[in-house]
């Protein structure tokens, strides 16, 4: 069967009234849930679980998938407007998105992220359609040494993510690794820095950490600002909501770069979109003519990670459907829905159930188009959130943060975590330490540790395993070159600075 027939089968399946309806339900709910800070897709899922039992598997999958990628579309809204990230990917959107909002460019930022999401998503789907079987094959060939090398590359590539002292960023990565290591050890079940608190045995939750570090610390810092609202009212002319020609021009290349990177990273089981968005941000900053604009509202820093994130969301279906590895709770539920209907996700899914596979894939196109239609007109409304006087807005944000983190586990402990990281975030802010690297260390640290320890167990303690295995060795060689380049360009800049001083 060639691709064209498959597309036809898929489209005719995805466009039935029922499937279209469930696609609409999924993406709408995903958008709404994504926009409410602190509420993840898991809330939407538990709500729809009973329904998924009763509808046929294609419809169930289309709906759940819609929630999954719809959440990403909405996810950056709260990050850009209020510095409130719910996922690692949207934490990257905070770095330049929130400054853009403060400069009165929130509308432009949101519109461009919608465009970036759509383009990123589309490229991801294209890859999914063309290369699924091949990518699944590669996924089977990648083991712990490869993943470890890949994460070292990601970490090195992302070192330049924040301004200021390299040492401070580096220290923050280490703090992130330490915080990420809290909980029961993966191999021995020994509690690490848990102080015998049962809630800590699962580790710190990402949402509570991000809400504290970014959201609460920002509120503490600006609660007493002299202005009535976050931005000046004069910025609310329609002209200000639309991206300028220059902003549009500056966005195209980053969007495509981000989408490409995101597609590749998303297809790797278990690594996913968070690393993709961090890396694509770092790449944009490195290739930019004027890196100093980053962190102060550079549009490239918003759109590239956003495109990467959405592309990764789509290609993440490759490992889920073809290897049976769920990349997230949402994905796990999709697998469960399939299994309940007697369909085993796995390498054979594509050939045995072409109707289902291609129907779901083609529904992604429909979903992405629906998301643009849903999101674009709402931007005007969302931007007005910034016109709410801040002394009324910030208590509301706090309430939403609290309810969000609490209902994730129904444990008050999550609120204590938010408080702890809110105070820490504010302290770091006063002392001019960047918080984004902390989040990167928090996400990558435990993954790196698991893969490193597993590699060592399997190779019986032989470090050469990282170099001898061809894919891992290649990745490490690229890393070495990158490192040399970073050191060299750092040295050159230093020379120039010294020369200028004399």
């Amino acid at each position: 069967m060639d691709l064209f027939t498959n597309i036809q089968i898929g489209l005719s399946n995805a466009l039935t009234a029922t499937n279209f309806f469930y696609c609409l339900v999924g993406v709408t709910l995903g958008t709404v849930v994504g926009m409410i800070p602190g509420i993840g897709s898991i809330a939407a899922i538990s709500m729809l679980l009973p329904i998924t039992f009763h509808i046929e598997p294609t419809a169930a999958l289309i709906m759940l998938a819609g929630i999954w990628y719809g959440t990403s579309y909405g996810g950056s809204t709260a990050s850009i407007l209020l510095n409130l990230p719910g996922t690692t990917a949207s934490a990257v959107a905070c770095i330049d998105g929130y400054p853009m909002a403060k400069n009165g460019r929130a509308g432009a930022a949101l519109l461009m992220t919608t465009a970036a999401s759509f383009i990123g998503g589309s490229i991801g789907i294209l890859l999914l359609m063309l290369f699924s079987p091949m990518v699944a094959e590669i996924g089977l060939g990648l083991g712990s040494p490869e993943y470890f090398s890949l994460m070292v590359l990601g970490l090195i590539a992302a070192t330049g993510i924040s301004d200021g002292s390299f040492l401070k960023g580096f220290a923050m990565v280490m703090v992130g690794i330490i915080v990420g290591g809290i909980g029961l050890d993966m191999y021995t079940a020994v509690g690490r820095y848990t102080f015998n608190i049962p809630e800590l045995s699962d580790g710190i939750s990402l949402v509570a950490l991000a809400m504290g570090l970014f959201g609460v610390s920002e509120i503490i810092a600006s609660a007493r600002q002299s202005q009535m609202t976050l931005i000046d009212k004069s910025n609310f002319k329609w002209k200000a909501i639309f991206p300028s020609t220059q902003e549009r021009k500056e966005s195209w290349l980053p969007i495509f770069r981000g989408a490409g990177l995101g597609s590749i990273m998303g297809a790797l089981p278990g690594t996913g979109s968070s690393i993709a968005s961090f890396m694509s941000y770092a790449i944009e900053k490195r290739v930019a003519k004027d890196p100093s604009r980053f962190g102060k509202g550079a549009i490239e820093g918003v759109v590239a990670p956003e495109a990467a994130n959405n592309a990764a969301d789509q290609t993440a279906f490759i490992p889920t459907l073809s290897l049976g590895i769920p990349g997230s709770a949402t994905m796990a539920l999709m697998l469960a829905a399939l299994i309940m209907h007697g369909i085993t996700p796995g390498p054979q899914l594509m050939t045995q159930e072409p109707d289902l596979f291609w129907g779901v894939v083609m529904s992604f196109w429909i979903g992405n188009i629906l998301l643009v239609i849903l999101n674009a007109p709402m931007i005007g409304v969302w931007v007005k959130v910034l016109l709410i006087p801040y002394h009324l807005l910030y208590p509301s944000i706090l309430v939403f943060i609290c309810i969000g983190v609490y209902t994730a586990t129904y444990n008050i402990f999550e609120i204590w975590v938010v408080i702890a990281f809110g105070v820490l975030g504010y302290t770091l802010r006063i002392l001019h330490f960047p918080v984004a690297p902390l989040l990167l260390g928090f996400v990558l640290g435990p993954l790196m540790e698991n893969h490193f320890r597993r590699s060592m167990l399997i190779s019986r303690g032989d470090l050469m395993t990282f170099i001898e295995r061809p894919i891992s060795g290649t990745i490490l060689a690229i890393t070495a070159f990158l490192l040399l380049w970073i050191i060299f360009s750092g040295y050159r800049n230093w020379r120039i600075r010294i020369a200028a001083q004399w």
Partner: protein, 335 residues
């Protein structure tokens, strides 16, 4: 700038909120049953997040239990602490039959291996109601082992000929697959390097990719790769052959009395009146007869069993004693 609440903020908020609420109520409200009264509700506490294997099974059960009891049955997810958070939560809840815990093998392994952590002895904290379902684990082999190995005997022979080389994947410390590997090693005297993964699926993939020799996995996790021909399943770990896979030998056919089974059972907070427990036991026994339920989860190897309150008590007790024996004899590298 002068600010007045009524003129600036109210119309604005109203517009924003109306938009949000309209969207919410139209799209969500239409597809959801209206929220019922919160009184007269039975809550089943699942110690994992929404969407997991146990969670899906219990939601399907809850739906049928609701019809049987004529009361609303909710599934509440209390993940965390290797199920200890949920145990602690239910053990301190009301004893009026409004709340039940869905217990897993972690109840016994947590207490047997790390009694100092967690809420305490599950036999004292909880009243058993009914065994719900069991699921054997499968022993899987991958391309890292020669093709002709297709039985437990052959696997053990290979391991004896290649001392210290056998690696087996599992789904994390103190999970039943990990302990099953330790038990296998203890009973046969053959050293096995247990390699932990956050989930059994990832472990199965490393076996299928030829990076690890073998594994003990939930059957549903290994099934895709078995069907694709990347993995071979050679035995199940339950004491008797599973009715779902009648042709699959058991490990106990080679190693006597070897029994590691995944199970779910319903527990009430200790001190719940006998009448309440018996009523729930009867209702659940009726629900577990439902053929559609069996059909739904058969492919995963899930078998709905039902039984008496004593059945569940005995299972928990013998499992705790079994792990305590292993703990006393083997330095598990867990502490």
């Amino acid at each position: 700038m002068k600010f007045s609440y009524s003129s600036t903020i109210r119309p604005l908020l109203r517009r924003t909120i109306m938009a949000v609420l309209l969207g919410l109520s139209v799209t969500i409200g239409s597809i959801l049953p209206a929220s019922a009264q919160r009184a007269d509700i039975v809550t089943l506490v699942v110690p994992f997040g929404a969407g997991g294997g146990v969670d899906t099974v219990m939601r399907a059960v809850a739906e049928r239990l609701s019809d049987e009891l004529g009361r609303r049955v909710l599934v509440e997810n209390r993940p965390g602490g290797s199920t200890m958070i949920a145990v602690d939560y239910v053990s301190r809840a009301a004893t009026d039959g409004s709340i039940f815990l869905i217990g897993t093998p972690s109840l016994s392994s947590n207490f047997a291996f790390q009694p100092e952590i967690g809420p305490g002895d599950p036999r004292e904290l909880l009243d058993p109601v009914i065994p719900v379902a069991t699921q054997p684990y499968g022993v899987i082999l991958g391309p890292a082992l020669p093709d002709e190995i297709s039985s437990i005997e052959a696997l053990l022979e290979w391991a004896e000929a290649n001392p210290g080389r056998l690696d087996m994947v599992n789904s994390g410390p103190l999970t039943a697959p990990r302990l099953a590997a330790e038990l296998l090693s203890f009973r046969t005297g053959i050293p096995i390097t247990a390699i932990s993964y956050p989930s059994g699926t990832e472990g199965a993939l490393d076996v299928a990719g030829g990076r690890v020799h073998a594994g003990i996995n939930q059957i549903v996790e290994a099934m895709p790769q078995v069907q694709a021909g990347n993995l071979r399943m050679i035995a199940v770990t339950s004491l008797e052959r599973s009715p779902v896979f009648p042709d699959m030998p058991t490990v106990s056919e080679t190693i006597e009395d070897f029994d590691v089974t995944s199970w779910n059972g319903m527990f009430a907070p200790a001190g719940t009146p006998d009448a309440v427990l018996d009523e729930m036991n009867a209702a659940m026994n009726a629900v577990l007869q439902d053929e559609s339920l069996h059909a739904m989860f058969r492919d995963q190897g899930t078998e709905f069993i039902g039984g008496t309150r004593e059945d569940l008590a005995n299972r928990l007790n013998s499992e705790i004693e079994g792990w305590q024996e292993l703990d006393a004899n083997v330095d598990l590298d867990l502490q």
